[in-house]
Symmetry: C2
Subunit: 331 residues, 2 copies
């Protein structure tokens, strides 16, 4: 007599006519037997898993934990779980994870992984598989996207350095295989041009990853490639930390002899030596927004804006200062 009745009681979708007595009996029995409904069977029947997949390039990168947290928190509050996938910047892994997530029939995928090929995303789009891109542009005008305004943040950063009086401003760019890397480099060049600062090729060095290590190597090339700049715009905070290390090794004290600006405002950016001046990015909020967007799509709720671009602003801390006077530097 039970199976369906139990389902009705425990699922209890609104206006069901159930005798209170029956309900009590079921609940009591469930409690007594320690009954656990099988989410598996439920998902199979409903064709819904109440699960989101999330692809991140690297959990170790301090940019991502707050984003993950935002996604996870929003998902949890709405009854969803999160399958976390670390891609290590490998497109093979991205493809593999994407396959697995679809086989598991997750209800949607949050993609914070920046190296993913457009072809892979086009496939998701073609299949009408719900996904949202975080911190990564998209070719599809109808895609769900959460971005920060890289132009705005970069312009503020460069503007700050120019206002301080710097004229030899270097750029340690991010990987040009990522949209973020491309945008921030282009925006930096544009901002320099607009402020009338000349930029030669030697003043730009491209890091092959958004990591401290890659930033260090790129910064070394920049510093040893000619007259070192008095200020450097770094593609993100990890790159800035690498640049800081390279500068120190080259005997350039920061911010006295070289000023740095980063991007993202990672945790504890204010506790480094010196405190990082950087563009603040609301990482947690990005995660929450992304999860909100995709859950709305999954649950077919209205979506006001499919494309969220967040304003970002510079936070000035200890790592920037006016350039030392030439005489002092030479001395």
């Amino acid at each position: 007599m039970h199976p369906s009745t139990v389902s009705r009681v425990l699922n209890g979708s609104g206006e069901l006519n159930l005798l209170p007595a029956t309900r009590q009996r079921v609940i009591a029995a469930a409690a007594r037997l320690g009954y656990r409904p099988s989410a598996l069977a439920r998902s199979l029947r409903l064709q819904r898993t109440f699960t989101l997949g999330m692809l991140v390039p690297n959990i170790d990168n301090p940019l991502f934990p707050p984003i993950i947290k935002g996604v996870e928190e929003t998902a949890r509050s709405r009854g969803y779980n999160l399958v976390l996938c670390n891609t290590e910047d490998s497109s093979e892994r991205e493809d593999e994870y994407l396959r697995v997530l679809r086989e598991r029939q997750v209800d949607g995928i949050v993609i914070a992984s920046s190296f993913m090929s457009d072809a892979t995303i086009a496939e998701l789009r073609r299949d009408h598989f719900p996904f949202v891109l975080v911190n990564r542009g998209s070719r599809g005008p109808d895609d769900l996207v959460v971005l920060v305004d890289n132009d705005m943040g970069t312009a503020e950063a460069i503007g700050h350095l120019v206002d301080l009086g710097h004229t030899r401003i270097g750029i340690v760019a991010g990987p040009q295989t990522t949209m973020t890397g491309q945008q921030r480099l282009a925006a930096a060049k544009a901002a320099l041009r607009e402020r009338g600062v000349r930029i030669e090729g030697s003043q730009v060095s491209v890091a092959e990853a958004f990591s401290e290590e890659a930033g260090y190597r790129a910064a070394r090339r920049l510093i040893h490639g000619g007259v070192p700049p008095t200020a450097v715009f770094c593609a993100n905070d990890l790159v800035a930390l690498g640049t800081l290390r390279a500068a120190r090794e080259a005997g350039l004290e920061c911010p006295d002899q070289i000023s740095l600006v980063g991007f993202n405002d990672i945790s504890f950016a204010d506790l480094f030596a010196p405190a990082l001046t950087t563009v603040h990015v609301p990482q947690r909020e990005m995660g929450e927004l992304a999860a909100g967007l995709i859950l709305a799509q999954i649950e077919q709720q209205p979506i006001p804006t499919r494309r969220v671009v967040l304003d970002v602003h510079l936070v000035i801390r200890g790592s920037t200062a006016a350039p030392a006077r030439a005489s002092e530097r030479i001395a």
Copy 2:
């Protein structure tokens, strides 16, 4: 004619007698139709989900991302996915997540969450549900556990401070509701006693969480509670960073006027101002070990040691120095 044959071809568990022609036909058809097997149905039938659940107190705490990464990487390499659950140090959430993970029939649970009540764990144990504890002790002698040797690390840290000549050594302890917090405090007291350093009550302050903020508050109590110590042993690196901030606010320069030691060696500990002297904990390795243990249990492979206790050692960086001479301090 197909369903089971398809299963045999695509699953292909070892010694099956299949006509190459049939196999080809199935594979071709699958490719043509873009067939995706349903992991859901598979799990329902097999009573295995190839999924691990993982509970962490807070992804934002830099201790955890490397551990998560280790778990995820090991899980992935063996065909498992990871459902990540952020408990925010709330036992209600822990319980809720644990319920959900069991309803989802994850094959095992990695528990890095330290506040979890023993009752909840006892329940898992009673039901023979596979789990492994990371960085958290256990009452069950047969539990799978991955720990670090808190006594060893703490003894080295205290020893270092004593060797430098410090005699007024404070302790900013971690929450005494956690095993880690208790162990490190007890070990610190024991080490001080052993080295003949007197410890009064006022020299110990307990942080109510393993966070920068809680560390800051606890350190303020310590510093303003009497004669400030010349050195402080902090329960972990976040607490140490909070202590650093409190010390600065009180006008105590580190390491000139006050020396600090932390625990965990979180990312970029060497880039703080000053670089953190801390006990190095192999976080990633802990995650890998934990995943390896639980997967072995799940797949019924032999388990050499159910209880892994890792050696840890102090990494001496810029945040410790010999105590300033009294005359200098007073001046």
